[in-house]
Amino acid sequence: MPVPPWRITSVLRRSETGPLVTERDFDRRVLVPEIKRVVKEYDIKYDPETPVPSDDSLAKDIWNAGVDLFLSVGVFCTSTSRRMIFTDDELKEALWNYHDSIELGIGQDRKTWSPRSIEDPRRPGCLFSPVGVRCSEKNFVKLVMAYMQEPLADAVSTPILEKVDGGYTKTHSPFEQQGGSVHALNSRQAAIRVGRPGMAICLTGTALSAASQIASSNPIWGARPSDIRLVSVISELKIDHDLMNKALHFRQNGANIGTLTSPLFGAYAGIEGTTVLGIASHLQGLMVNQGNYTCYFPIHIRHLNNTSREMLWLVSLSYQALASNSRLISGSNGFAVAGPCTEMVMYEAGLHGMVSAVSGAAVLWEIASAMNKHFERTTPMEARMGCETGLSAVKSRLKRSDVNEIVKKILPKYEEKLGNAPLGKTFEECYDLETLEPSKEYQEIYGRVKAEFRDLGIDYIY
């Protein structure tokens, strides 16, 4: 069970009393030089020939560099322009007191997520996620039902309601609050309709501001403490008071709070530095965001994905570092470039799922399609491929070296298309909206790619 938050009032005070620094100086004179220092000191080097390394000492170095970075830089509060600094003992206290597992959902739909180790034979949790794709009010319930009826899904995330009652759900407008509440209502309705009323739902993406998030927590809309509620890290190693208000609200109301973090490869650092930032941002999630778990979606700044060669290296080593040095529960959130009903997105999802699972991710949080930006261009089939392949890689007892070979064989099928990937089809084009069955075309693509993975050594369960 989750432990109490780590010294929450002390954290709040640090945002008011920490050392004052301009944001430009934080970036220019603290964060960037420290990233460079730790990458050099710990001698972290990317090897494109080994997208899934089996080098335990490299994972250890990445963990140590991440701890060093977090302790030397701290977290910048953009609301007060102050650095929140933590000591080594404080970090050790928080890590030592971290829980052994978390529970989500209620009743028959209750699920448990636990930390895993590298090449762990235990299955990871599965969250099926359309992430932040915009969706119409008309199709929202059907799309969420399609995700929720997937048997592998322990929990689901939900899309963004683009408009409600004729108005854009624009952040800070009254339509945001209305949209956030309707989002919760429609999501719970979908769960009830598919016979999983107690299922944990990731709420409420439409409500970006703290005010609307808090409004959507009212149980009359269907939200429960057993749902998934997220507080973002601002990239990189930053937070603001609006986010801290969310964290405080979720904590004080017993919600199942998690951290949402997305280090950006190509912004502040190269692939090595971004990997280290990924570890440091997990530690921010523990100490500042007060998360019981993390949704981790490192992103390539140009392709908006984490399925390319260097991003899979980052994902693998992040989870190897976390799994071998901590009990932090982290969900590996895939981001694919290609859209639904394409072979490319199936390859991307499959690789992301197997790399995450074998490297030690506690949860497979699959997968954004078409760069998460195109209206209703998402379906449960992408998440199914990511999770089914990840679980089957675990069941097959694959080692990192086995997965490395599969990745090297599959990557050339799409690496050259990352800058010009097919956007595929929309949910409505891929699914029968009455029966919620995927199209024959998509089922055939799914089957073909699955057969390829099977030939490469994934012993699928069915």
Binding site: Y168, I234, S235, D242, N372
Partner: protein, 216 residues
């Protein structure tokens, strides 16, 4: 050193992020009978081009852009201080840039802001989570040529539309070009809100701004 060699040294100092060498070379150039336009064309613009390439190839990141922009600004300010009366540096255009209301994710905006400054634009960076009316007021107050708006989160995209609607209602839409970008945006969104351009990358943003102003 000849003036040509000094200009090359200044360019190399900017690209190499060598603040001391850039400062020393700037003073050496000032001691000559220099032509400011030649320095900008052969030195600073060329340095900006190379820095852009290094950013594209992921050799340089935000930290390097911040340092390069500081070096260029310092050097240009020194030249401006000693310019003979009547001489002036032509700016490439004026840009008001912001991450839209409700959105706190500003890395993409920061990268474009730095690159535009390095390339000689006058940039008014309003920061993150900026109300639409504030963007519009700043653009009208500064006589901006371009408004650049970034949005990462889906629910903040409508603020890009709102800025365009406000400019139209104020009767200034024809005077100011709007370029948009950010993780949640797309060419389809650009078309639907009738913005003047969508950029997928920071380099796209610089290229659009240059194309709008008709400059190299």
């Amino acid at each position: 050193m000849s003036i040509d060699e000094l200009i090359i040294t200044l360019k190399d100092a900017i690209v190499g992020l060598d603040e001391d060498l850039a400062e020393k070379t700037t003073e050496e150039i000032i001691a000559t009978n220099f032509d400011i336009n030649e320095i900008i064309e052969k030195g600073i613009t060329e340095a900006a081009r190379i820095i852009g390439e290094k950013f594209e190839s992921m050799e340089y990141f935000l930290g390097e852009l911040l340092i390069a922009e500081e070096i260029i600004t310092k050097s240009l300010n020194r030249f401006i201080f000693v310019l003979p009366a009547g001489d002036r540096i032509e700016k490439k255009g004026t840009v008001v840039i912001a991450t839209v209301y409700g959105d706190i994710h500003d890395i993409g905006k920061n990268l474009l802001s730095q690159m535009l400054k390095i390339h000689g634009f006058e940039v008014h960076d309003l920061g993150r989570d900026v109300p639409s009316i504030q963007v519009v007021n700043k653009a009208m107050e500064t006589g901006a040529d371009i408004i650049a708006l970034s949005s990462l989160m889906s629910t903040t995209m409508p603020s890009q539309k709102e800025v365009i609607e406000m400019l139209t209602e104020f009767g200034n839409r024809e005077k100011i070009k709007i370029i948009i970008g950010g993780g949640s945006t797309s060419p389809e969104w650009n078309e639907s809100i009738e913005a003047d351009g969508w950029g997928e990358t920071v380099w796209d943003g610089v290229a659009m701004a240059k194309a709008i102003m008709g400059v190299e």
